[in-house]
Amino acid sequence: MAARLDVQKTYKLFIGGAFPRSESGRTFALLARNGSLIANVAQASRKDLRDAVVAARSAQPGWAARTAYNRGQILYRVAEVMESRRGEFAEDLNRCGVPIASARKEVERAIDRWVWYAGWCDKFHHLAGTVNSVAGPYFNFTMPEPTGVVGIVAPESPGLLGLVSRLAPALVSGNTAVVLTGEASPLTAVSLAEVVATSDVPGGVVNILTGATKEMLPWLLGHRDVNAVDLTGAPNLEAATVAEAAENVKRLIRGEPDDQSPYVIADFCEMKTVWHPVGR
């Protein structure tokens, strides 16, 4: 019997719930440490970024308007589908140089982290929100609200856990996200996109762009329709690049690649304070 032909996966972008190639037609070669080719991956351009922001913006009000309970259900579903594809995630990490035992461990921790954040959807308001005592006859509440469209620069390492640790808390409060994965571990990011696409997450809530972060980050920071950017995956930026974000007073977030805390959810929120007269 003839040997079976290889069926190679095309690693594409994830924009608005669809998997397009880059508008530019570009790809980059993902190489193993020994220089052998792992895969050709789509290399996003600034126009893909623009399209992703449009998709994220149009999805944001609907995602935020869902009940917190429903967002929790959907995010939990993401974890369920990840669970059924554990082997694939571990293999992706392994192909990018993570030993298989630690790859399996990382996948388990990433799934557990999704579950953990999914549970916070209908709970974090009680932690991040406050009832303030004020010097007057008013009820005074501070409540967290989603910032809007959030750009996320995924940490290079750990490949999957770092991405999950930044993406999941951003989604909890009702933000939509445009993720730049960088060139180090795009395979797990694309696999995660496939999970998101089959987990009841509305199109546009998560958008994932593989490619050169350095090329696209100035466009993301300068984009006037992006409300916040998480720079955890880009720790050593030049001041001039970061200054791009100042023009529209963008919220910049810097955290840890492997962090698990309800306060990370609050990092992606705006705090709104309401004064309400005390009645009789």
């Binding site: 922001v53 913006r57 300068g222 006037r224 329709d225 791009e244």
Partner: protein, 329 residues
């Protein structure tokens, strides 16, 4: 090899006679200058293929800026809602005169387009600015009223100060073959317009085929339309590239046959700057650049203007802009 069985007499069973309604058989419209019109059939496949090619052009930097400025100056900034108020129309007019308050270098739009009841408010806020006031009239958007009512509607709008009138043809009469009625109706409404320009909406989404659209275009032009317009924006199927091309070709052929120049207005569903310059390319390559002026080409739109402004901001600042940086309609 398989031989298909012959069916004797099958051809004879089918009548080859084309049945045409009696009205159209005797009705042969002439242009204003008396030229008898020929309406040739439309090649549907060729038309759609040609229309697709207009969407593949790459327009960048200085050409892009020129295209955006031209598109702005060709817009009929439109609000046609039951909930329109004089206040909303006033805001629309201010935006029409100066689309982006932060950028005084931009041109004004060609006209504001409103319901007849809103014409006085629109006139009040556009006088002396060069922005025209267009009013839909004549039982828009259905056209299902008597001729007398439609004419009175137009006369009132013109008396209130509208200098452009958008009417819609009676699709019911057109589809049942009563072309003479449609012709006479347009003619009467043209008389009612007096000095105002007449734009005739064909409502192409309800005409059924490109042949019908071409026929209606010729009919409207012969009956005195200054502009022919694709759609009201009130039915599911709006303007599209093939429809606009079909009408542009009718305008071109009408001009060839009669020497009379008629304008084109596309309307409905045109929301992005890209769509706008697809239409500009279509006009330039079908009718020639002499049609690329607000006197002969209009785009009926509301949200399109904001997208054009966002594109200008991107060109000016080098940063992608967002809806927070333009006014809410």
């Amino acid at each position: 090899m398989v031989t298909l069985p012959r069916r004797a007499g099958r051809l004879e069973e089918v009548s080859t006679e084309v049945v045409t309604p009696a009205a159209s058989a005797v009705f042969a419209p002439r242009s204003r200058s008396g030229v008898a019109l020929r309406v040739t059939p439309v090649d549907e496949v060729g038309l759609e293929a040609r229309a697709r090619t207009f969407t593949t052009r790459s327009i960048k930097t200085t050409s892009k800026r020129a295209a955006i400025n031209l598109a702005i100056s060709c817009i009929d900034l439109t609000t046609l809602e039951g909930m329109d108020t004089p206040g909303k129309v006033a805001a629309l007019c201010r935006k029409a005169v100066r689309p982006d308050p932060a950028n005084p270098g931009l041109p004004s739009v060609a006209a504001v387009c409103v319901y007849p009841q809103m014409v006085p408010a629109a006139v009040l806020h556009t006088t002396g600015t060069g922005v025209h006031v267009a009013s839909v009239a004549g039982a828009f958007p259905s056209g299902q009223s008597s001729m007398a009512v439609r004419v009175a509607d137009i006369e009132q709008a013109v008396a209130d100060g509208a200098d452009e009138i958008d009417i819609v043809i009676s699709r019911g009469a057109f589809l049942s073959g009563d072309y003479r009625y449609v012709f006479n109706e347009i003619e009467a409404q043209k008389v009612a317009c007096g000095p105002a320009h007449l734009k005739v909406i064909l409502e192409t989404g309800e005409l059924g085929s490109y042949d019908q659209i071409r026929k209606a275009s010729m009919l409207a032009m012969a009956a005195g339309a200054d502009f022919i317009k694709t759609s009201t924006g009130k039915v599911a199927q709006n303007s599209s590239m093939p429809v606009a091309l079909c009408m542009a070709e009718a305008i071109r052929d009408y001009a060839d046959q009669t020497g009379e120049i008629v304008g084109l207005k596309v309307a409905g569903g045109i929301r992005t700057a890209k769509q706008a310059w697809h239409y500009l390319v279509l006009i330039a390559e079908t009718l020639g650049t002499q049609w690329l002026t607000p006197d002969l080409f209009r785009i009926g739109a509301s949200s399109l203007l904001n997208d054009l402004l966002l594109q200008i901001q991107k060109l000016d600042t080098g940063r992608y802009s967002g809806p927070n940086y333009v006014s809410v309609d």
